[in-house]
């Protein structure tokens, strides 16, 4: 029989709580906000592209009528 391992329930709960309460570092916040801005930028560029494509198509179809 192996040596008995007796648990420490209080220590377990205390340690498990720590995992849920880890603050974000300044670097993490900056990195995520930088990446967020990059996503916003890409999304607005895609939206601009879509708007110009729609505008070109609209112009094309209008010119075709004349």
């Amino acid at each position: 029989m192996e040596k008995k391992n007796i648990s420490d329930v209080d220590a377990f709960i205390e340690e498990a709580e720590k995992g849920r309460n880890m603050p974000l570092s300044k670097e993490d916040i900056k990195r995520i906000n930088d990446l967020s801005r990059e996503v916003e930028k890409e999304e607005s560029e895609i939206e601009d592209d879509v708007i110009s494509i729609v505008a070109i198509e609209k112009n094309d179809s209008e010119s075709a009528r004349f």
Binding site: N5, D28, I32, V39
Partner: protein, 257 residues
């Protein structure tokens, strides 16, 4: 014949086991016991904590479990940590400034979850489908979206999950293994999938529960501890299985006891 034993009956139960010459070296814990112990908002947290501390720890009964338990525990924390992290990220007080569309995606899933919490008493934890939907909205933004999602997972999961995993060490749980020489003395039968299938087939119990009962049958350990009615119904339906201990309220909600 196995019994479903209430936590409140434990002193008498233990006394009788010892009177009958049964060695109580240890017990097998279901994953839900470990999760409930670690997360205080869980129903039965206090009762489970008091029972494990005052009855199991005090009587120097060692804790055993199956390898599935760590997977279930970490899976619970994956969803909990992501839920808490993402909900905090979109809170007005957050220092993070996520793109509006991503905030909307998180908010949409969060309100579905909120509804479940209010009307079904569910835990405040996204299910896997909700997490997938949020992730999809990030991945829809190409490489930049993927990098942002990865950064969020890194801060909300990588270190915190390691901490949760390390916390398990404090419980000093031993994983049952027939191949561990140190555990030879507690095994008196070989664990087989066929026996787990047979236990599952009694009442259609989940496989992690069937595995616990199967492992218990193959050892000299006299009982398992769980919060899941599947284990109770399995024990009640099959007289050859061993005992399972549960909080009184769980037992009282089980039919025909």
């Amino acid at each position: 014949m196995g019994r479903v034993v209430r936590f409140s009956e434990f002193d008498e139960y233990l006394y009788n086991l010892k009177q009958n010459g049964t060695r109580v070296e240890g017990t097998i814990l279901d994953a839900n016991v470990i999760i409930t112990l670690s997360y205080s908002p869980k129903k039965f947290h206090t009762r489970t904590y008091e029972f494990i501390k005052n009855k199991i720890q005090k009587n120097e009964i060692a804790l055993y479990t199956t390898v599935n338990t760590t997977q279930e525990y970490l899976e619970f924390y994956r969803r909990l940590l992501l839920t808490e992290g993402l909900r905090t990220a979109i809170h007005p007080s957050s220092e993070l400034d996520l793109p509006n569309k991503k905030k909307q995606a998180i908010r949409a899933q969060s309100s579905i979850l909120h509804n479940r919490e209010m009307h079904q008493g569910a835990d405040p934890i996204f299910n896997d489908r909700e997490i997938k939907k949020i992730r999809e909205s990030f991945l829809n933004s190409g490489n930049a979206g993927m990098e942002l999602w990865k950064a969020l997972c890194s801060v909300y999961l990588r270190k915190p999950l390691e901490v949760e995993y390390k916390a398990l060490e404090k419980l000093k749980i031993t994983y049952l293994s027939m191949y561990n020489d140190d555990q030879k003395a507690i095994f008196d039968k070989k664990i087989t999938w066929e026996n787990a299938i047979s236990i599952c087939s009694d009442i259609g119990a989940g496989f992690s529960d069937s595995m616990i009962l199967n492992a218990l049958q193959c050892t000299t350990l006299p009982f398992a501890i769980s919060l899941d009615s599947d284990l109770a119904y399995s024990v009640m339906s099959n007289p050859s299985l061993k005992d399972v201990l549960m909080p009184d309220e769980v037992v009282e909600n089980i039919h025909h006891i």
